[in-house]
């Protein structure tokens, strides 16, 4: 099983109460978590990555148990080695594209220098055609370049899996189409398990091997895409 997830969490915020109770297991290498906004998709993804804390449950990705409340196992996000692409990309605004991508390669208390060179960095800069903006800061980039930089930053660390939070939401329509294709090819090339969350039908159609439908904090449906009749 590539994805084995069971998460419980009660969120209380200003008198409103939200109960998240998500459970799914899948062998799909491209799994899409689909649902309206407010369904708890981002919370689920953050708990899988370890940057949000569930009340209970179990998370195993690619055969490695990362969280298990029954045996009190809780790996830190640092130990999980999962690549995470945030919805607005969360690029470090004070670092150049090169420094952003190299961020995870340099341990210690100092950021990589502006001239930091490493094989992995060059590889992803080339793969994502970022050569011309390598010295630019995030606010100088286009939406597509930001997304690619965020992807490169996550991939440089050779993560065990890739988690993507609405990776196309910040892009215009024409670009979305192309980047979806890029992402799909990339996944097929690297054979890296990928979990993507979205509220867009097109993302599901183009990318999903399997879809897990989330509504109001619960899984309402989990279908293999091959089984779904083409909806019009």
């Amino acid at each position: 099983m590539i994805w084995d997830v069971e998460l419980h969490r009660v969120l209380v915020h200003d008198r409103s109460r939200f109960e998240l109770d998500v459970r799914f297991a899948s062998d799909a290498s491209r799994l899409v978590l689909y649902g309206p906004s407010g369904a708890g998709k981002t919370q689920t993804l953050k708990m899988i990555a370890g940057i949000a804390r569930p009340d209970g449950g179990r998370v195993a990705v690619a055969g490695r148990v990362m969280y298990d409340s029954a045996s009190q196992l809780l790996l830190s996000p640092q130990e999980r080695r999962l690549g995470y692409v945030f919805q607005d990309y969360a690029l470090f605004p004070h670092l150049t594209v090169r420094q952003n991508i190299a961020f995870g390669l340099r341990q210690g208390l100092l950021n990589p220098s502006r001239a930091f060179a490493a094989v992995a960095v060059e590889r992803w800069v080339e793969a994502f055609h970022l050569e011309s903006v390598i010295g630019h800061y995030p606010h100088q980039l286009s939406g597509g370049q930001r997304q690619r930089t965020a992807l490169a930053r996550a991939l440089v660390n050779e993560p065990a899996a890739l988690l993507l939070d609405e990776p196309f939401a910040a892009l215009d329509k024409g670009l979305r189409q192309r980047l979806r294709q890029e992402l799909k090819e990339l996944q097929e090339q690297l054979h890296i398990p990928m979990l993507l969350i979205t509220h867009e039908d097109d993302d599901v159609k183009e990318l999903a091997d399997q879809v897990v439908m989330l509504e109001a904090g619960r899984v309402v449906d989990a279908t293999l895409v091959a089984e779904v009749a083409p909806a019009t």
């Binding site: 953050k46 990555a49 370890g50 940057i51 830190s76 996000p77 640092q78 999980r80 080695r81 999962l82 690549g83 995470y84 945030f86 607005d88 969360a90 470090f92 605004p93 004070h94 961020f103 995870g104 341990q107 210690g108 208390l109 100092l110 950021n111 930053r153 996550a154 660390n157």
Partner: protein, 224 residues
Amino acid sequence: MEGAWVALLLTLKVAGWATALNLILGVGIGFAMARLRFPGRDVLDALFTLPMVMPPTVLGYYLLVLIGSHSPLGSWLIKTFGIRLIFTWQGAVIAATVVAFPLVFKAARAAFETVDPQLEDAARTLGMREAAVFFRVSLPLAWHGILAGLLLSFARALGEFGATLMVAGSIPGRTQTLSIAVYEAVQAGQDDTANFLVAVTSIVCIAVLLSANRLVPGRVASRE
């Protein structure tokens, strides 16, 4: 006039040490208060801000009670290390540190609160330990605001009078800072010395404020 230069150097030394201490204390506590949620947080925040609104002489009195040679802490310092803080320049540093602390603390807290926690999470998913997250993401992004607070606290420490006088007294060449020297000069009718000291103090303060203004984040943004 020679006494004026001695006072200026002493003042810069005291304010410099106070600012260095506040860099560590203000940034550390400001970061903790910006990121941690715990009961009594608001009360603690008010307590840390208190030196800004309390009369410096009252603060000085508190310090005397706390570190005076008859206090438990003061007598312990004398017995164990032979350190006497009252009527020393180190005592003046402590007074200036306490009085100027809220300026760094407030600025640091506000600056850290503007740093998107998601950036810190991003660093964690990239394998960074908490210390690395702080020094590579949080601190650089909050630095402008912190620096502005540091300069203000330096200026405030330069002008410190009440608490310093209570704790360190006014010993020429040892604990007599610029602002105290001005007071003494005026009391003694030495107008030339007073004029000179006032001019020196004003120039230093204006220079510090001009640098602080340049570093306030709002200014930087509006210039672009």
